[in-house]
């Protein structure tokens, strides 16, 4: 277990950075998933959102289901043993290391986030199997070079790595997002994988609810068109069935089919 910071020299955050006066994306997500790590401000904002777009709880469940299936595929069929999960979020039922280590206990996971609340929970609750490892990196994705640098001391960059950006690139405009993703992909060895999902702008109520949320003082999140998702995978070999609504990505027999407003996919670096 290692705590490392790619942003500052000190391993311990100086301030707590927890603000309970505005909704917080990891906590509101936790609320939609039925979790208990949220405050009144998150529940109110979450309920307002649900009034405009009742499907959001299903979106939240769907995206966790995608993460589970994607990691299971990576650790299983793709044989990946190293995971770089940026934008970890608060712990939920099936976290990356649990899914990966259930398939391959020796899997090594680096969780990256810049939110002190998320990092504190990850260090305490996202703990590795004895055979593998979990490390926690305090870093901002806007500095991909720093993340790659520090990750290189925790993972073996001569072997394939799965880069996971699950529901995080929506926090950035296209101008910011594409260069960040290309820089991260460029730093990975050949044979590495890349998985991403985010919310799509294909539902009017979803768009409206998101606009209201973005006006609340929370860190904004932008919905993208499906075409703009595909750009994240340029230069990669897409894993079947490509960039699709999450429920259509290698669904399990019981996968809920109702929700088609979040998109994602997986690619392999040649």
């Amino acid at each position: 277990m290692t705590d490392v910071s790619a942003s500052q020299g000190a391993p311990d955050p100086a301030g707590t950075g927890i603000d309970t006066t505005v909704p917080h994306s990891a906590r509101i997500w936790n609320y939609w998933l039925g979790g208990k790590d949220n405050y009144a401000v998150d529940r109110e904002a979450g309920d307002q959102y649900k009034e405009i777009f009742p499907g959001i709880a299903v979106v939240a469940r769907t995206s966790r289901g995608f993460l589970t299936r994607a990691v299971r595929y990576l650790a299983g069929e793709a044989g990946i043993r190293q995971f770089l999960d940026i934008g970890t979020g608060l712990p939920t039922a099936d976290n990356t290391h649990q899914v990966a280590q259930a398939v391959a206990p020796e899997s090594r996971i680096v969780y990256v986030d810049n939110d002190p609340l998320v990092l504190a929970h990850a260090r305490a609750l996202l703990t590795s199997s004895p055979e593998g490892s979990c490390d926690y990196l305090d870093a901002d994705i806007r500095n991909p070079a720093a993340i790659l640098d520090t990750a290189a001391s925790l993972l073996d960059f001569t072997r394939p790595i799965a880069l996971m950006l699950m529901g995080i690139m929506g926090h950035f405009t296209d101008d910011e997002a594409y260069p960040i993703v290309s820089a991260l992909q460029a730093g990975l060895p050949s044979g590495s994988y890349f998985a991403l999902y985010d919310g799509a702008d294909t539902n009017e109520a979803f768009n409206q609810a998101q606009e209201g949320y973005n006006a609340s003082g929370a860190v904004p999140y932008y919905l993208r068109s499906p075409e703009r998702f595909r750009r994240f995978f340029e230069g990669l070999e897409l894993v079947e069935p490509g960039v699709v609504p999450l429920v259509q990505w290698r669904p399990d027999p019981g996968t809920e089919q109702a929700e088609i407003y979040s998109y994602g996919g997986m690619g392999r670096k040649p």
Partner: protein
């Protein structure tokens, strides 16, 4: 889906009666409100008092199976699977916990805590004065017990110590809770039981921190003032989505149990501040190792 680390419920016996009791209470309350029946009407049906209904709904008393089924009928709950789930829970709620044989030395308010601790999936604690009971060595536990029971005979002290050690079986069981503890540096510096006892206690703490399901974070003096102005407290989380977090605050002769949203929010916020302000688990291990080296 729950946010907990663990999905699987524990077997009824290991779980103890507390959470089944809470679950039966929560559901009786929900069904009564849905049927728009007052506590008085419900009390009349089972020939009890209004306050008995309220204690039942808060999970504070044992249930008679007959009372539960009569109330379900009154509330119009005829669905057989629902009724039989509640009857099963009622039977679990009436099974004595492992701690029942210590009833003679244990106050009721502490017995309730043991029930919650045994059933919890995540236990978060802040300790200002002493090392948490789940992490105490036998000698340290004896020293703490003697501080609190100065006039107790030796055999009672030993029974109290044995109860405390028995509690720790929880950490060695097949499906232990995640215990996430923030300890103030003061609790580590205070040589309870003397220097040798304390040193062994610090060694034990380092060993505990190495367990996958135990996290220890030190709040060093160098952090200055911190968020928990009130003192030590514990937040208990249960894997059942319907059961709210419970905040436990121990006093000298009683304890507070808080489970209302506004209270839990506040304590959870303070706990989160403490966890983000304290040293990380890795730095804390180095900090305690350094303390041991310096003694």
């Amino acid at each position: 889906m729950s946010t907990d680390q663990r999905d699987g419920g524990r077997a009824g016996e290991a779980l103890g009666p507390t959470v089944p009791r809470l679950l039966v209470g929560i559901q009786l309350h929900r069904f009564r409100e849905a049927a728009r029946i007052t506590p008085e009407q419900a009390a009349y049906e089972i020939r009890a008092s209004r306050s008995k209904i309220s204690r039942m709904e808060n999970g504070l008393v044992r249930f008679k199976e007959r009372d539960v089924t009569d109330l379900l009928t009154l509330y119009g709950v005829t669905d057989e699977p629902t009724r039989s789930t509640l009857v099963t829970l009622t039977r679990q709620a009436n099974t004595p916990g492992w701690w029942s044989k210590y009833g003679d030395i244990m106050a009721d308010w502490f017995e309730a805590y043991l029930g919650l601790e045994t059933a919890a999936s995540v236990i978060r604690t802040f300790e200002l004065q002493f090392v948490h009971g789940l992490f105490q060595t036998e000698d340290y536990a004896r020293a703490v017990t003697m501080l609190g029971h100065t006039s107790a005979p030796a055999d009672e002290i030993e029974r109290r110590v044995s109860l405390r050690l028995k509690r720790q079986d929880l950490l060695n069981g097949p499906d232990p809770p995640q215990v996430w503890s923030v300890i103030d540096e003061g609790a580590l510096r205070r040589p309870v039981g003397g220097a040798a006892v304390m040193r062994a206690q610090l060694d034990h703490l380092v060993e505990m921190a190495g367990l996958r399901h135990v996290t220890i974070q030190v709040m060093p003096f160098s952090r200055g003032g911190h968020a928990a102005a009130g003192g030590s407290f514990t937040v208990l989380r249960f894997s059942e989505p319907e059961v709210p977090d419970v905040v436990y605050i121990e006093q000298l002769t009683s304890a507070l149990y808080l489970d209302k949203h506004e209270d839990v929010d506040h304590y959870l916020e303070v706990m989160n501040h403490l966890s983000t302000e304290a040293l990380t688990p890795a730095s804390s291990a180095r900090f305690v190792a350094e303390m041991i080296r310096a003694t």
